[in-house]
Symmetry: C2
Subunit: 358 residues, 2 copies
DNA sequence: TTGAAAGCGATACCAC
DNA sequence: GTGGTATCGCTTTCAA
């Protein structure tokens, strides 16, 4: 049987309440008594029973707010299912999750939603933020008010958020680069396709990709063509790919840093170059899984979007209930390299990539 | 505020105790009362508060046994750190984990350890089993006694274990095959290196690998040389690789299904074929990470050994405390494709692959 | 500054 | 069959 507060109390000749105050530096206790109690606790290797702790604290009730933007996109829908799962599980532990789902990116609407949730009495907030000065200020303000904030999927670097949960885009781009390096013979020509030019998450992927290829040793070096923006549109990607194929019939690889992979794949398929032009894209979802299975996509780099929704409520819960901060300020989700054979393990993944489930 | 047993009791005009019996079909209750209570509970969407439930049950105390064999191997050491972490976390919830660490594979010693743990009063057991008739019988026996068993890392198929947590070797082999298929030009020669001929886990990798390559369409087909056993020894792998290189100077890829990757890599490096012969091996550990970084290994397929140790104690805990069986009988850990760029995310992985930590 | 006691939610035991 | 009550471990009043 593990030691509990009662045992320490007996050994110290005081009451449980006193032990509690000593161990949590709550004051209202004679210093020498506190010291002795802490000594005894350390000696016995006392660890508070988290279940008891949690149960006791449910008296205050833990209320956590979550705001997701761009819920119309497949990736955020996976994030969403992670949040829902977390909400379910936390409910079974007396926690409450208030979820707001917003379409598109709208700073004003976002700030309104925050206001609303705060007025509902949330004690912690997780959200997909916009990287604007207003929002940074808002996050810092909440933090000062004692409402910890977790950013997810995208970050506001340098703000006073508790932590960020999401992909390390630069690293993901590097990973894509190393895959290309393995896949293609020296001297091969590579085309990077960008999304919107002002999307910082996608840009860091692109930078990671390009930087890494530039660093390759000269003997195995690949030729990187200038990147082309596609605005996350398949029709643009299709057109660009066709055009580049025309200019460079010996094109050997395409890296789709944002969206548009279906367009690029179509162009490759139509020109009979399937398998001869290797394509790497991001995010495991239904269409991408099909492209993997058809052999048009060589790899998909997944950002584990489910985790990005699932973890933040728990991180806040832990922080609020046990004062336990996250292990790191940046909690980068795994960069999962997916092929057709490791994309559907025991049905675990399929439920994540199915956004229209209920 | 979520509904609790008290509220249901009030609405039904009975006591909490009666509600409890009704909801858990414990008998000693008038059927019509039970029915009414269940109806009310369903209507209110009652979910028992898991924290309260857990706390209540700590009175009996949950004692879980874990037995690991071959603790001298790097992979099992990672499993071990997963078990230790789980033990720590469960202790904070009133659970107790009794861990037995055995060197090598020894059926007799294993059975003794089981006996020992059972006599200590464990209510659930997780272990790395040998696939022998005696052990199958033992597992079935424990299961009948009401002691659920979880197999981990390797399985005893068809036994009455609660579930298995570990790699799907066949799928892993398939993944390796698909990587080779992407990496190498049509017609390339491939060498599969096996471990011991009687290791069923390693054999299923090999089968997955060979089957998948045989199914490739003829236009992109690769040539698979007869596999060579290396007995998990680097010196054997080194010798075999040198010999095969001699016979087939145009060798383009090596798949190390078991161990011996360092020997194979050395042979490739020494003959100046680094990068020209692609090598894929299993399990992310210190030496393999170095080989990845040096570029000798193209990919490492990791089996997430940490999870294999971490999850079983929780699965048993959940089962014992809330009668909640695992989602599936086979809980296959992710087949993680690792390159140098996605092998060390935020330090999360490094602590797993560092077996000699405390 | 300290102790005693009342919860948190569910379960188990003992009366009736 | 059913209700009452003690209990798990901890936090938080309220008295003293």
């Amino acid at each position: 049987m593990a030691v509990n507060a009662q045992k320490i109390a007996e050994l110290a000749g005081v009451s449980r309440g006193t032990v509690d105050r000593a161990l949590h530096n709550r004051g209202r206790i004679r210093p020498e008594v506190a010291a002795r109690i802490q000594e005894i606790a350390a000696e016995l290797g006392y660890k508070p029973n988290l279940v008891g702790q949690a149960l006791s604290r449910t008296r205050q009730g833990v209320k956590i707010g979550v705001i997701l933007q761009s819920v119309e996109t497949p990736t955020i829908q996976v994030v969403q299912s992670g949040v829902r799962r977390a909400a379910d599980e936390l409910r079974a532990s007396g926690g409450e999750v208030l979820l707001r789902e917003l379409s598109g990116l709208d700073d004003e609407l976002l700030l309104e939603s925050i206001e609303d949730l705060v007025s509902q009495g949330i004690q912690g907030l997780a959200l997909t933020p916009n990287n604007t000065p207003e929002l940074r200020q808002c996050i810092n303000g909440l933090s000062e008010q004692g409402i910890p904030v977790v950013t997810l999927n995208s970050d506001v670097p340098g703000s006073r958020r508790l932590c960020f949960v999401g992909q390390d885009g630069y690293r993901a781009g590097q990973t894509a680069a190393s895959l290309m390096y393995e896949l293609l013979p020296p001297g091969s020509k590579l085309l990077p396709l960008a999304g919107h030019l002002n999307n910082s998450a996608h840009n860091s992927r692109l930078n990671g990709f390009i930087d890494t290829l530039r660093q390759q040793d000269s003997e195995g070096a690949l030729t990187v063509l200038p990147f082309q923006p596609c605005f996350d549109r398949d029709d643009c990607a299709y057109e660009v790919t066709q055009y580049i194929l025309h200019l460079h019939p010996d094109l050997a690889g395409i890296y789709v840093a944002a969206n548009g992979q279906e367009g690029a794949c179509q162009a490759i398929a139509e020109t009979g170059r399937k398998g001869r032009v290797k394509i790497i894209a991001h995010d495991l979802n239904k269409p991408n899984l099909r492209l993997l299975e058809s052999g048009l996509l060589s790899f998909v780099l997944d950002q584990e979007a489910f985790d990005q929704g699932y973890r933040p409520p728990f991180l806040l819960y832990e922080y609020l209930l046990h004062q336990k901060p996250p292990a790191r300020e940046l909690l980068h989700t795994d960069i999962a390299i997916r092929t057709r054979y490791n994309s559907d393990l025991s049905g675990v993944l399929t439920q994540y990539i199915e956004p229209d489930q209920q």
